[in-house]
């Protein structure tokens, strides 16, 4: 049996990255998962990442420690309130306070290091340019620019070696498309968590941007969110 090529999958344990993991596996890759403990207040998502990785039989799962609190600058890593019921969510008119400076660039940089050590030429990331919160580092032109830079940065990119590809399979999908795709690939979304400000038991707040985008996705796909079923309707 031929060996599957390895791919690094950035895995937060949320809806998007879990779907990406399923897509990478479905495309014939052996997914190697990379998660971060970065001072996020919703560190409970790491438990979800571990559950998801186990459910997909992932053999290599690295949790990298990086302290983004050293710079401050985001309500996701600081003491400030996570905004709830934000009116500008649909319009992308402002960049919300939950934006963590350069987060995807830092995450992709670590993925690049991991890929190089694994001998992998494929990185998967769950950015999405339609149903998103207005973060600049989720745009397709950003991902293209990162890929170009990455091919100049590493041994992989040196002449004659395999080209490194950043896969962003959700880039042009709606949240409903993402949910439908995941369900068709056997994702159990009860294992995932999306909330920026969950309760100690992991109960989602249902009012932050991330909870609202998730609810929109399940609603438009005409499905119940199994995570909400787990926590009851209250």
């Amino acid at each position: 049996m031929p060996t599957s090529p390895r791919a690094v999958v950035l895995l937060s344990g949320g809806l998007d990255s879990t779907t990406v993991l399923a897509i990478a596996k479905n495309r014939g890759y052996e997914p190697c998962a990379l998660s971060f403990r970065y001072g996020q207040r919703h560190a409970i998502e790491l438990d979800s990442a571990r559950r998801v990785a186990r459910a997909f039989g992932v053999k290599n799962h690295v949790v990298a420690e990086i302290d983004l609190r050293v710079f401050g600058g985001s309500s996701l890593t600081g003491q400030a309130e996570v905004p709830k019921d934000r009116a500008a969510l649909e319009t992308h008119e402002e960049i919300p306070s939950t934006y963590v400076p350069a987060r995807n660039t830092i995450f992709l940089s670590f993925a690049l290091a991991y890929a190089e050590v694994l001998g992998s030429a494929d990185i998967f990331i769950g950015v999405n340019a339609l149903d998103y919160s207005g973060y600049p580092d989720c745009r397709p032109e950003y991902i293209d620019a990162f890929e170009r830079m990455a091919n100049l940065a590493t041994k992989t990119g040196v002449e004659g070696r395999t080209k490194l590809v950043i896969h962003a399979p959700l880039a042009r999908m709606t949240k409903a498309d993402i949910v439908r795709t995941g369900i068709s690939l056997g994702v159990d979304y009860a294992l995932t968590s999306s909330c920026y400000d969950p309760g100690v038991d992991g109960r989602p707040c249902r009012r932050c941007d991330s909870c609202r985008l998730r609810a929109k996705g399940f609603g438009e796909a005409g499905m119940e969110d199994p995570l909400l079923l787990r926590f009851g309707s209250g």
Copy 2:
């Protein structure tokens, strides 16, 4: 008195980054230094970084903790021997084992986060494409690609905001030029350290790539290295 614009300077405490700090200050910026504890075996360089920052009156100096050992893959962060007296140093024919996967990309990503939080549009890095060890992420085309990506990644890069610039003032300088420039700007190179495998007292090994490139620089500039004078000729 008008305020100087802030610039993030990546400061390892070595010869190159210290010279870059002096250049940034000389160009009218208020340098904000960023150093890393990344599992390097030569962590003594952080002491040099602190000494250098103090000598230049730097008010903001962040030391970020990142554990690159989680991936393995380099003799600079692992248990393997640092290569000495390497024949390929001059020819750049191979990428040496001291190469840390994606290191400059990770460092620049953190600099990008710091710049964004500071409201700075300028990042300085001491990469050098002439007298270097053959690392792919020291080439000017790599730095250009990073800058392009960075301008798509961040709030700064969103339409109408200031363009972020990655300054690599040493890119096309020889080590001798770098030494001469630093001396002319008042750098005390006795404060710096370059060795990949120093003794516990900070004494340089004189045989790793970094020590040899440094010696070449002082030699071609016709100067004595004050660091070697500090440790005696032995």
